[in-house]
Symmetry: C2
Subunit: 312 residues, 2 copies
């Protein structure tokens, strides 16, 4: 196959686009896709300071790399989730990436926030699925870091596969409020929030992997050990099969949803503006934000165990 | 496992309902489900004469059997599609079923309507997928038969798997007009139409198969030979995997859609009432109905082949 742009020998074949690219043209194509998405959805202004949430995986490091290449002012944010060796290795990848490019990086860890706040501990103490606990905590720390640091935008590396899987899950259960909020740009609903954007939401996992590989980005390849058996992976598998039978399915599913369907769910999601969490001061719909509720649950559990003489 | 109702030994286990049934209780459960669906959705009035579209497969014969058991006045309608031996065998099954129960049966065949109207011929002549050609023709003949015969309702055997697959396809492409029309009861939009209902739309393929087996219904087991590779089967396979990971997925997907989501798509589907087809007089949105357009295409093609000396 030949490169669709320059007719050199193609290195990548994108079935969903019925296109092939050589290495330089693929990198150009990928950057252009991100650039266009940012412009079309008005994700980032020219003077915005962007906080990029980086996990050490291909998506978030590819995103950071592209944003730097496009000339945006960026700072990385790494959150140590305390998932054993997996977290150690992903932290290393992020540090190496930032150091090699002299990029500013902020690092927080759940463990330093309080005892028992590493993801596995919270999941065990609250009997939540690890992915649910992890999601709530990440959201809190990302929001808090973006606010404290006076950033304008928080960018995450969610790709097309992530968004399609999330959309499929929302559609299978017809969760109207979740459907209403599934969008590539989330404007702040409170002064302590910043805009949240997903510039890779139309690029597949395969496309970001190829980009990271071609750019020589050293990322953590293994999946999070908690992800095994996660519902999200079942959705991804189903979508992979649908995509194989009809290339372009995922992209059309997500793109058409965002473009023409999502607004029909807006009324369902209309709710009052959030107040502020009594414990941490971040926006919250109840007395406590969902992170502080989690923390309370963990503390309560620890106190009970201590009283029963089970902990040191 | 024990029967959820009577504690006898269970013969069937329904994971989606987390229930098991012995044979008598299963038959009772199945009939009740159909009865409740008919009542909840106001599908059939007590005095209605129901035309039941029967293919010879498990779903439509199970439906006919249940409707007769519930005391409805029914007539079967079999449409010979001209799909070789498959059609011959399915015709036999329907005749045997009706004769054994002394039920009135009307039989039409596409071949008797005109030369080249068997499904494989129409598909070849119009270069349509066989399932698309077949769907358009079935719809026409069912509507026409229901109208001519002064029936009140047309009932089809679409089951939960059919409806979930159709919904998944409509959602993956976000076809708003198709989404708006996907409902278990379709009220007539023209005096020549009758109400169309799907009393089995919340019962799975497995459930109708078990019912047919327990009732000793002899049905055609093999799939239509044209179905191989059909997109519908890809959707069914994806849904089977999602169901296996989380039993009840299909039912929640379809039920919640019909109950709370479908109406949001109504405005998209609002279109003028149909006029009448110039050729056959049945309701049509254009000059010709979609069936007569197909027929014209076939005739045109045959005329060209004859002119070129290719046909006898």
């Amino acid at each position: 196959m030949k490169c669709t742009r320059c007719k050199a020998k193609a290195e990548v074949h994108l079935r969903a686009h019925n296109a092939g690219f050589c290495r330089p043209c693929y990198l150009e194509y990928f950057r252009r896709q991100v650039e266009r998405t940012i412009a079309r959805e008005r994700m980032i202004g020219a003077d915005d300071h962007v906080l990029v949430a980086v996990s050490g995986g291909k998506d978030s490091l590819a995103l950071w790399d592209v944003l730097v290449g496009l000339g945006y002012r960026t700072t990385g944010l790494y959150l140590g989730l305390g998932i054993g060796e997996y977290s150690d290795r992903s932290h290393e990848k992020v540090e190496t990436f930032a150091a090699a490019r002299s990029l500013p990086l902020e690092v927080r860890t759940l463990a330093e926030q309080g005892a028992g706040l590493a993801v596995p501990d919270v999941a065990a103490a609250t009997r939540r699925a690890p992915c649910a606990a992890c999601g709530a905590m990440k959201r809190h720390f990302f929001d808090a870091a973006a606010h404290e640091g006076r950033f304008d935008v928080l960018a995450t590396g969610h790709n097309l596969d992530d968004e399609a899987a999330r959309l499929l899950g929302n559609v299978l259960r017809w969760q109207r409020d979740h459907l209403a909020r599934q969008r590539p740009v989330l404007e702040p609903s409170h002064p302590k929030f910043v805009r949240k954007v997903k510039p890779l939401y139309l690029l597949s996992e395969y496309e970001t992997a190829v980009y990271a590989f071609m750019r020589g980005i050293d990322y953590i390849v293994e999946e999070c050990p908690n992800a095994e058996g996660a519902t999200q992976l079942v959705y991804k598998d189903a979508l992979d099969r649908l995509e194989a039978a009809s290339p372009g399915t995922k992209r059309a599913f997500v793109k058409e949803y965002v473009r023409t369907i999502r607004p029909v769910f807006d009324t369902a999601a209309a709710r009052d503006a959030p107040g502020e969490c009594e414990a941490c001061g971040m926006p919250a719909f109840g007395v406590l934000c969902s992170f502080c509720s989690l923390v309370r649950e963990v503390e309560h559990k620890r106190a009970r165990r201590a009283a029963a003489g089970l902990d040191a």
